[in-house]
């Protein structure tokens, strides 16, 4: 089956006064029709910028998509004119935003906001759009939808508003929905409901999803494949089961170690990833994760590894790491047992402490 979305070598940069921020730096991935892809990474690693780039919603200036191509359904989104892109937004690709509290216009009723896409793309008239809006609200399980369509956003709770956002995204039956941290702003019980809803909708409508999150727990149950991003690059890609069973990149190990697990003894400590993500204006020349990696060697500092197939893993499992690639020193490492060089870990901790402390020292002290 041909891929619905094919992103090749995408570079999105922000031109700021301090320099060029390479927010997305050569990202390549595909999404097949009906597939759910997870993009995982810390804050500021370029996940959201990737999503916004896909819809050409990067604020310009200062942002700019400098290089790459985004083939959607056989057309390059980056080569379209503004009108054509607007024809795709909401119609073929829809987006669910992170914070439902601020993503709805406070002075418009729910029905008017959901109808917007229907009127724009499907050219429905008011009464048709209203009927469809009620259907959509019922679809996302909003009780007494008929009465609530004329409510304002402030009359809805956070979880309800996110349901409204989902209804908005679904309104034109898009082929692809980008969900940017759809559950981050919600509390845990609601998170589960919303994820369930998304999962059912994905199955029912055969819509492809790109689920962007920093929470590996969220993607675990939802996605077929996962891309792990770090510092604007994809550092590991694999199918979901494989990634959790057999991760091959110290960054992914770090992410997995920092999730609390119910099935492990209480003595097992959570191990955070020390340090901070690199400055994207002047990223390290070698592996971007090297400064925070407790398994690092000299190569890591000098040259950046390619995203390559990894030995001892499934055929489509790729990672960007000198250690786990063919002939590396981490090929046989069991990440659960060996936390790496603890002295190195301490050194990194101290390094970051000193770096973060410097700006606070008053000048002249």
């Amino acid at each position: 089956m041909a891929d619905l979305l094919e992103v090749t070598d995408l570079h999105t940069q922000f031109f700021t006064r301090d320099g060029v921020v390479r927010a997305v730096d050569g990202v390549t991935f595909q999404v097949a029709a009906g597939e759910t892809l997870g993009i995982v990474g810390e804050s500021g690693c370029g996940k959201s910028v990737t999503a916004l780039s896909l819809m050409r919603l990067i604020p310009q200036p200062p942002g700019k998509i400098v290089k790459g191509s985004i083939m959607f359904d056989g057309q390059d989104i980056l080569k379209m004119d503004d009108d054509d892109v607007r024809g795709i937004r909401g119609n073929n690709i829809a987006m669910i935003f992170q914070d439902p509290m601020t993503s709805l216009n406070p002075v418009l009723t729910i029905s008017r906001q959901i109808s917007e896409a229907l009127e724009l793309h499907l050219k429905m008239d008011k009464s048709e759009a209203r009927k469809r809006t009620i259907e959509l609200l019922e679809l996302v399980n909003i009780p007494s939808a008929k009465k609530r369509v004329d409510d304002y956003p402030h009359q809805f709770s956070g979880g309800m508003r996110q349901r409204v956002m989902i209804a908005m995204a679904l309104s034109c039956n898009p082929k692809l929905i980008l969900a940017d941290e759809p559950t981050t702003a919600l509390d845990v019980t609601i998170q589960a409901q919303i994820l369930d809803l998304l999962k059912n909708l994905a199955r029912e409508f055969r819509t492809a999803f790109i689920l962007i999150t920093h929470d590996l727990g969220v993607v675990a149950g939802m996605t077929q494949r996962i891309n792990v991003m770090y510092a604007g690059r994809i550092v590991e890609k694999a199918d979901t089961v494989e990634l959790f069973a057999n991760p091959k990149m110290p960054y992914t190990w770090g992410l997995l170690r920092s999730i609390p697990r119910l099935d492990e003894s209480r003595k097992a400590k959570l191990v955070p990833i020390e340090g901070l993500p690199p400055d994207l204006i002047a990223p390290p020349p070698g592996c971007k994760f090297e400064p925070r990696c407790q398994y690092r060697r000299d190569v890591c500092k000098e040259k950046e590894p390619e995203l390559k197939h990894i030995p001892n893993s499934k055929s489509d499992h790729e990672a960007r790491c000198w250690g786990t690639q063919e002939g590396g020193w981490l090929v046989d490492t069991d990440w659960k047992r060996e936390i790496g060089d603890t002295r190195l870990l301490e050194a990194i901790k101290q390094e970051t402490a000193s770096v973060t402390a410097t700006p606070e020292t008053p000048p002249g002290a």
Partner: protein, 318 residues
Amino acid sequence: MATTASTAQERAAELNVLARKQRSLWGDALYRLMRNKAAVGGLIVIVTAFLVAALAPLIAPYSPIEIPQNPASQMEPLWTGSKYTDPRYLLGTDFLGRDIVSRLIYASRISMIVGFVPTAIVFGLGVTVGMTAGFFGGWLDQALMRFTDIIYAFPDFLFLLIIVASFRNSPFGKLLDGLLLIFVAIAIVGWVGVARLTRGQVLALKEREFVEAARSVGATPRRIMAKHLLPNALAPLIVTAAFAVPGAILGEATLSFLGVGIIPPTPSWGQMINEGFPLFAANPWAVLLPAICISVVMLAFTFVGDGLRDALDPRMKT
């Protein structure tokens, strides 16, 4: 058993929804406005003034312009009880013997029109310019805002006076007894404030997520401005409008008082003060009555403006 429980639950949910009062943002604001006694009083005055202006030919006992055959000029209002009164003229007559009641009634037409027409132009222009500048930013913003700055830099009233005085004798200045020139002059002076206010609002609003959400469903810039930004920026704009109306009324009255406003014999309140002023010592009422009319209408608009401000943004209440 289970089904009855669930239907009962559903019913409860339904009742809950029905019991809650549905109130939109605007409905809420209207409710707060109606609870404000001063604002309601102001509204009543404004509506009355409107009716008087609209029905002037029916209400006015005499012509406001024609000078009577045997003029009894400078009559005082009846209640003064002086010997210079005439039972035919309730509020007396002016220096040409014209009925002051009729003149006041007809003059209200000028004030009402001058209050609303320039304000409408001011808002049409100001909102368009401010919205465009704020939304698109960049060089367009720079160009538009520098232009508004230039106009803003002139002292308001002086600018108004200069425009009116210089075009008063041109053919355009004579249209509609000079009313058109006053409309345009007030609009030219006034729109910059609205443009700046709108731009400021838009700059803050366009960064909000719902604008991005609207973009992501494929809305055009024009649609985003009209359907998403404008309704959100409306509250402060309405308040500004409510204060702009009395400002325009006062502007016209002042111009007419200075003799560069409405071209006589068409009556306007400012005009009447102007005409009565030289004989103030003999008959102060010819000046006081139109002055009272101006004050009452201005006060009414100010009350409504205050009420609107409190109603639309309860946080601004002092």
